[in-house]
């Protein structure tokens, strides 16, 4: 269908063109003046860290969100969709990360749901199966269209979802993290189908956190960071290292104070271990790893999203139960049955999911602050009101929590202040080891600096800290040692002299065996 178009040696006209797209939510600019082009017959990867605006861009394209500014054209005509259904009618189909099909229906019914061939007004089952079989064969898939969807593994369901998406003669196919639950062979099968569709002229927009897969399948990529476009490149012309640095970016903040403090603490970091983990791991979560954290030391965990950095932290806290290895705290073996065991041993953990796993939104600052301490005390021994008030007053002042009203509901606070309440919740329990997962994500720069400064100060006072952040600058600035994670395993441990470049090289590093042999 696109033979004529392909003959032109010059760059073909884009199928989709978005110009100056801005999307705003109350208080947040999710996308700012982003340009985006998608050509027929290409696989285009949309790259960026969490919160960079990938999903927002997809939703702006498919009509889920209405952009505050900007123009979208499809095939040269200006379009503005009221929702995914309208976008699909215009030829833009989306397959989401979770399979959005009906598991109790057959494969054929799922593929043609809502557009089944009819006969005398009723659904024609035989024609439905025949049409579905045709479509599947067309994609080179051998799936019985009469079988029930739920009988198939997720990978096949994903392919059925794609078959459904292209069954409407889609010109644009959007695949949002299609590979996250697939194994290697299944990914290969998916990629075969993607190439097949691409060669037929379908424009494919592909989102994935797996760099290797992106390099294997994509022809071109667009990189977003913090809601802004940072570049559009041919995949063959952009090295992995450049991509990672585009995605993560460099922030030149005036954080000299933090650095000075971190430096001081570094000199004083002891060699007395607080926690030692040997061979700790969990199947499907993190490969077994060794880790030692000393008193007064900040250990940074660096890695891309999905690299296993959060999973590792959760294992250390017993939020997920490790299924191998031993942990000792202060030389004593610790059986990580659950968070209570970890807390009793002096470990504290702030989850990256502040709303879902951190604050208790409908309780006051006071109640949130003393929650962990109260839980450790047990229900029968309430903390006396006087002690409570003293603690709350002290920590509100120490961390500059606003509003400074102990009765304010935590759900009404800004992200930065919620994070401070969470920190205070753990600090009142006087932990030996504090695990912070993305403590500075989504909060304003002022609070960010305050929290980093606090971490440096705590380490100076002898607390051991595990610090996770997507912002490598932050990790490097604060940490005495950096553990690098990749593909759900610990791949390296760097000392204090590590630079952002070192870490990026490790993250972007490929298993370049042929080259290694050559060298």
């Amino acid at each position: 269908m696109s033979v004529d178009a392909k003959q032109a040696p010059a760059e073909p006209t884009p199928l989709v063109r978005m110009r100056g797209i801005s999307v705003e939510f109350p208080g947040v600019k999710a996308l700012q003046e982003v340009d985006f082009r998608l050509f027929p017959g290409e696989v285009h990867a949309l790259m960026g860290e969490n919160g960079a605006g990938k999903s927002t861009l997809i939703k702006a394209l498919t009509g889920v969100y209405t952009p505050a500014a900007g123009v979208t054209t499809l095939d040269g005509r200006e379009v503005s969709f009221s929702g995914p259904a309208e976008a699909q009618a215009a030829g833009i189909s989306t397959v989401y990360q979770e399979v959005n099909l009906c598991p109790n229906l057959t494969v054929a019914e799922n593929i043609l749901l809502g557009r089944e061939p009819r006969r005398f007004g009723a659904v024609d089952g035989r024609a439905t199966r025949a049409r579905a079989a045709e479509l599947l064969a067309d994609m080179g898939l051998h799936i019985d269209p009469g079988s029930v969807l739920a009988e198939h593994p997720i990978a096949i369901q994903q392919l059925v979802a794609i078959a459904r998406a292209v069954a409407v003669d889609a010109k644009v196919l959007i695949l949002d993290e299609p590979t996250s639950s697939l194994d290697q062979d299944e990914v290969a099968e998916l990629f075969r189908i993607m190439r097949h569709l691409r060669d037929r002229g379908v424009a494919i927009l592909f989102v994935s956190h797996f760099l290797e897969q992106v390099y294997e399948i994509s022809d071109r990529m667009t990189v977003l960071r913090n809601g802004r476009l940072v570049g559009e490149h041919r995949t063959s012309e952009l090295s992995r290292l450049d991509l990672v640095s585009l995605m993560i970016g460099r922030e030149l903040g005036a954080l000299a104070e933090v650095e000075r403090l971190a430096g001081q603490a570094g000199e004083e970091a002891s060699t007395v271990p607080v926690l030692e983990a040997r061979g700790v791991g969990r199947k499907g979560s993190v490969a077994p790893f060794d880790l030692r954290i000393n008193r007064g030391e900040v250990v940074g965990l660096a890695g891309l999203l999905g690299s296993g950095r959060t999973e590792l932290a959760r294992l250390l806290f017993g939020a997920d139960r490790p299924d191998s290895g031993q942990v000792t705290v202060d030389g004593r073996a610790l059986h990580l049955r659950g968070p209570r065991a970890a807390i009793a041993a002096g470990i504290a953990f702030c989850s990256e999911d502040r709303k879902g796993e951190g604050v208790v939104a409908d309780l006051s600052i006071r109640d949130n602050l003393i929650l962990a301490m109260q839980a450790a005390n047990g229900w029968a021994r309430p903390i006396p009101r006087r002690v409570k008030d003293q603690l709350v007053e002290k920590w509100i002042k120490a961390l500059d929590i606003r509003p400074a009203n102990p009765d304010a509901l935590v759900g009404k606070l800004s992200g930065g202040n919620q994070q401070k309440v969470l920190l205070a919740r753990w600090l009142v329990t006087e932990p030996k080891l504090l695990i912070l997962d993305e403590p500075t994500r989504g909060i304003d720069i002022g609070a960010k600096t305050q929290i980093q400064k606090l971490v440096a100060e705590l380490a100076q006072e002898g607390m051991a800290v595990v610090y996770i952040s997507a912002e490598l600058e932050e990790v490097v600035r604060l940490s005495h040692r950096v553990v690098v994670m990749k593909d759900r395993a610990k791949v390296a441990e760097l000392d204090q002299n590590a630079t952002v470049d070192d870490i990026m090289r490790l993250i972007a590093h490929v298993d370049e065996r042929p080259e290694a042999v050559a060298a």
């Binding site: 806290f317 939020a319 659950g338 968070p339 209570r340 807390i343 953990f349 989850s351 879902g356 796993e357 951190g358 604050v359 208790v360 939104a361 409908d362 309780l363 109640d367 929650l371 962990a372 109260q374 839980a375 450790a376 005390n377 047990g378 229900w379 029968a380 021994r381 309430p382 903390i383 009203n405 009765d407 919740r425």
Partner: protein, 368 residues
């Protein structure tokens, strides 16, 4: 920043509107039938419509108290009605089969066995919800359906009648006031004391608002959820004793039929959200009283049985709307526009502790 003015604090507690609704209902009854408020003492017993409301409402109050804690943890317990039937069936069967069916010993043993069984049933519910992880509405539906069958098996499908003075005291006895209401108030006081004087209430609310955050903060979320189901089942068991003792019989089919709905309604009317979290025991008691008063009103006003349930529904909707700040704001705006000119000063003076848009505006105007 908490206002020290009692009226403001009361208004903030969310009890104002249920209380208003209750008083309006009582007043309506008194207008229609002046003898409604009359109380008289006869043979050391207090009699009157108000006393009847308390006495008949006691089982609902008890069950609603248990339900309130369950709902606070984001759960719900549909099986309480069936537990009521089982509790009565077990006690009456035991008493009827005992060596001395009129003795106090038989009554106490029977009640003890019944309540122990109810605790086991609560353990079962809690196990399904907290350990297996089944959604509470489904998990307790199991016992709601099976429970009446179990009660029928115990009674052999018959209505078992007993003549046991000691047993009769629980549901029909008087110590000036009906014994049943004394029990309900005692349980209320006990629960209020245990949950509000210790940290249990805070922990229950925390689990209800955000279970995962609570677990990660070191709360025994599972144990807490489990415990509230056991407590709810025991409350239902005691209510079952009251109901069966009041008529000296165990009716497996009809004892406590639909009482779970009344209990859930009482909790909601009392200002506790079905989404879990913050709960109000006092509100729940008020809610149960409203429902019982409503039932009594329907009978005493001679409202036709065909429209009884519709009438009940209308009142319940009205109370729920009154509680919703949004609905109240709409209503108030309507009436104010119609009746009185806007008076921002009065508004600002009335609620000094909160920043309503009006008071904020006044402050801005006041500053040059």
């Amino acid at each position: 920043m908490t206002s020290t003015r009692p009226l403001d604090r009361f208004r903030a507690s969310g009890l104002l509107w249920p209380l208003v609704a209750l008083l309006v209902l009582l007043a309506a009854n008194a207008v229609v039938r002046p003898s409604f408020l009359a109380l008289r003492i006869q043979d050391g017993h207090l009699y009157g419509s108000l006393v009847d409301i308390l006495k008949n409402g006691a089982p609902t109050m008890l069950i609603a108290l248990g339900m309130c804690l369950v709902i606070a943890t984001r759960g719900i317990d549909l099986s309480v009605g069936a537990v009521v039937a089982i509790s009565g069936a077990v006690t009456c069967s035991y008493i009827a089969g005992a060596g001395d069916p009129t003795g106090a010993g038989a009554a106490f043993a029977g009640m003890g066995i019944a309540l122990a069984l109810c605790a086991v049933l609560g353990l079962w519910n809690g196990f399904l919800v907290a350990v297996v992880g089944i959604q509470p509405i489904i998990a307790t539906l199991v016992l709601m359906t099976a429970g009446r069958g179990i009660a029928m098996l115990i009674t052999d499908g018959q209505i078992i009648t007993v003549r046991n003075p000691a047993y009769r005291t629980v549901g029909a006895g008087f110590l000036l006031l009906p014994v049943s209401i004394l029990i309900a108030v005692a349980v209320f006081a006990l629960v209020a004391l245990v949950t509000r004087r210790t940290a249990l209430g805070l922990l229950i609310e925390s689990v209800g608002i955000n279970p995962e955050a609570s677990r990660l903060a070191g709360l025994r979320a599972r144990t807490i959820r489990w415990t509230v189901y056991v407590f709810a089942a025991i409350c239902a068991g005691v209510a079952g004793l009251m109901i069966s003792s009041n008529v000296s019989a165990a009716d497996a089919n009809n004892a406590g039929l639909w009482i779970e709905m009344d209990a859930i309604l009482a909790v909601v009317i009392g200002g506790t959200s079905l989404a879990g979290g913050r709960y109000s025991l006092t509100g729940t008691m008020l809610g149960a009283l409203i429902i019982q008063t409503l039932t009594t009103t329907v009978y005493s006003m001679g409202i036709a049985p065909e429209i009884t349930l519709v009438f009940k529904a209308v009142v319940v909707i009205a109370v729920c709307l009154l509680q919703a700040p949004k609905a109240r704001a709409v209503l108030l705006r309507r009436t104010r526009r119609r009746h009185t000119p806007p008076d921002p000063d009065a508004e600002a003076a009335g609620r000094p502790s909160t920043h309503t848009p009006t008071s904020a505006m006044v402050e801005k105007v006041a500053q040059p």
